[in-house]
């Protein structure tokens, strides 16, 4: 029935969606195109989707000084993967007792956890506490520990655990298994869907973290990739403005040769490109994360 109706309507809707999709895809193509463009050409003609000649100067510059990018990659991978694993361990361990109807402090602990979704101290007290008293500022731990638990995610995991038959737990306990063993050998293997969803959400949030670095990190070795990109975008602009407005005599400044504009975009491709390509393959987990309904406390 649908095949026959290649009507004007279908064509209209499909062309609408083609244009609509381009609104999401074209920006990426522009970033790629600019990164491969010739600096002078860009400065004369503005950003172009089809660069007149291929120019790898920006990439050459990026790869000539790879220390910063490599350091940021190392830090970001470390705290993203490490942080996600730690987070999943702590959150699932906490969700399991809360899913057990026979656990005595279930209600109290659920409320204790849930209250953090309602009220928070705000940025200032957290900053002073973490920086001044815990001394976590300017260490890699500040990317990991403050984000280790998320009440909403724990509730989602707990709700999934509640859906597993309680008789599994009971029979395992009759066979003499302790709680920790029940948890690792029975509950976790059965919960792969929810674990994958929450792990992907956590990983994405960690990977895209730039504001932690903005607030807590001083040394460049500890910059996360996203924060490095932010500095590149803002600071290259700053340098360029300086070079244009006030060329100070006596200061050697190779702003003339450095492809300041295209380099930002080459950085963007090198630093963010790989994950932007990888994440969409896992989109089903993210879409699933949206529809985990019925998460009552």
């Amino acid at each position: 029935m649908n095949k026959k109706k290649l009507t004007i309507g279908t064509i209209l809707i499909n062309s609408y969606f083609t244009i609509f999709s381009l609104c999401f895809l074209l920006p990426f193509l522009f970033v790629i195109a600019i990164s491969f463009s010739n600096e002078n050409y860009v400065m004369q003609h503005g950003y172009q989707l089809f660069p007149k000649q291929l120019d790898l100067a920006a990439y050459a510059y990026v790869f000539k000084n790879p220390q910063q990018i490599l350091a940021s990659y190392k830090v970001t991978i470390l705290f993203s993967v490490g942080g996600t694993l730690l987070s999943m361990l702590v959150m699932t361990l906490m969700a399991y007792p809360l899913s057990r109807p026979d656990y005595r402090y279930r209600k109290q602990i659920t409320f204790f956890m849930f209250f953090t979704m309602l009220f928070s101290g705000g940025l200032i007290p957290s900053y002073i506490w973490i920086n001044r008293y815990l001394h976590l500022g300017n260490t890699i731990w500040v990317y990991i520990l403050p984000y280790a638990v998320n009440a909403f995610h724990i509730i989602i995991i707990r709700t999934f655990f509640q859906g597993l038959p309680l008789s599994l737990v009971e029979s395992a306990k009759i066979d003499g298994a302790r709680e920790l063993r029940v948890f690792f050998q029975i509950i976790l293997p059965l919960s792969k869907p929810v674990l994958a969803t929450i792990a992907m959400l956590t990983l994405l949030a960690r990977w895209n973290d730039w504001n932690t670095a903005l607030i807590y990190i001083k040394s460049k070795d500890l910059y996360s990739l996203q924060y490095l990109l932010q500095r590149t975008l803002m600071e290259a602009q700053f340098i360029k403005d300086m070079a244009q407005s006030s060329p100070v005599a006596g200061v050697t400044f190779d702003g003339v040769n450095t492809p300041l504009e295209t380099i930002k975009f080459a950085m963007c491709i090198v630093a963010a490109g790989p994950m932007i390509v990888i994440f969409p393959f896992f989109q089903k987990y993210f879409a699933r994360g949206l529809t985990v309904g019925a998460v009552k406390g």
Partner: protein
């Protein structure tokens, strides 16, 4: 038979439970409590301690004295903030953008979902969904690169277009009047894909027979959308709106900080509570007042979430948070 056996087994377990008495029960709970401890510690250290830090809002915080030794000043910090011009500006911006984003988000997501529902080609649906979900994976920093490509005054695409028609380019990063539109479009661009997928999933759940019956009765696509699809989506729309209203006082720091590049001239249109608090922290000279603003935001946020949840519980209990 099997079922019966299981019940007996359960019953015997319960009896055993009772007869073996409290020790067993206590041990079980002890073991489970051990599992909860790491999580509880995290919440205590990183959520609860800072909650007590809100006393900074009532103190004249001095960095060399620390939280406890700084002087109490009562409500002075609040007084100072609420009598300043900033109070109105950032509250208005936060709430104004919040409301606008909720409305635009619903309208755009639902419209796109309705249109997507009309497409029957599986591969096409997948392709469209994948492209519109892409921004969801980007940080605001990367989105900042993209808006920069569009808005950069000399090289940017929009000014290229304007100049192509022989007009003067616009200096986007210094004119406040365009920013409500820029921020709204950017926010929609980043969020519409996920919203659309959610509403589309709800549409797939509607009864196909309704559409068949409507077609038999001669209803066209538009009539079907108005009389079947939209009513089917209304519960979800209501819930999403109410839940979002609860968060209306909490702005998206990344959007307002990265996209406007933290440019001072734009503050009248781009400054929200979250960016204001961040700036207060960075400047560091009025920590007490900044903490007061944060507390104001948290308190209003809590009241809003509780109120909206009460409403949700009335309308559709299964969607309420608590």
């Amino acid at each position: 038979m099997k079922l019966n056996a299981a019940t007996t087994k359960n019953a015997s377990l319960n009896i055993k439970h009772h007869s073996k008495g409290r020790i067993r029960y206590f041990l079980d709970n002890l073991e489970l409590s051990m599992l909860v401890i790491p999580g509880i510690l995290c919440f205590l250290i990183f959520n609860y301690v800072p909650m007590f830090g809100v006393i900074i809002a009532f103190k004249d915080y001095k960095n060399n004295l620390g939280i406890l030794k700084s002087d109490w000043v009562g409500l002075k910090n609040f007084e100072f903030f609420f009598t300043s011009q900033d109070a109105w500006r950032i509250t208005r911006n936060t709430l104004g953008y919040g409301i606008m984003f909720i409305l635009l988000g619903i309208i755009c997501s639902v419209t796109v979902a309705l249109l997507l529902y009309e497409i029957k080609n599986k591969a096409a649906i997948k392709a469209y969904q994948t492209s519109m979900i892409l921004p969801n994976f980007l940080s605001w920093v990367i989105v900042g690169y993209i808006t920069y490509i569009l808005l950069e005054p000399n090289l940017g695409l929009i000014n290229q277009g304007i100049k192509f028609f022989g007009k003067e380019g616009i200096n986007w990063y210094s004119e406040t009047k365009y920013w409500p539109y820029i921020l709204s479009v950017t926010n929609i661009w980043k969020t519409v894909g996920m919203g659309c997928i959610m509403y589309y999933a709800a549409l797939l759940g509607t009864d196909a027979q309704l559409y068949e019956a409507a077609t038999v009765d001669g209803a066209n696509k538009l009539q079907q959308a108005i009389h079947i699809s939209i009513p089917a989506l209304i519960p979800l729309m209501t819930i999403m709106t109410i839940l979002n209203v609860g968060n209306i006082i909490r702005g998206d720091f990344g959007l307002f900080y990265q996209i406007s590049r933290d440019i001072g001239i734009l503050y009248p249109a781009t400054d929200i509570i979250d960016t204001y608090v961040y700036r207060g922290l960075r400047l560091g000279d009025n920590i007490g007042i900044t903490a007061a603003v944060g507390l104001f935001q948290s308190a209003v946020g809590m009241v809003l979430v509780i109120m909206t949840n009460l409403i949700v519980r009335k309308i559709s209990p299964e969607n309420s948070l608590f």
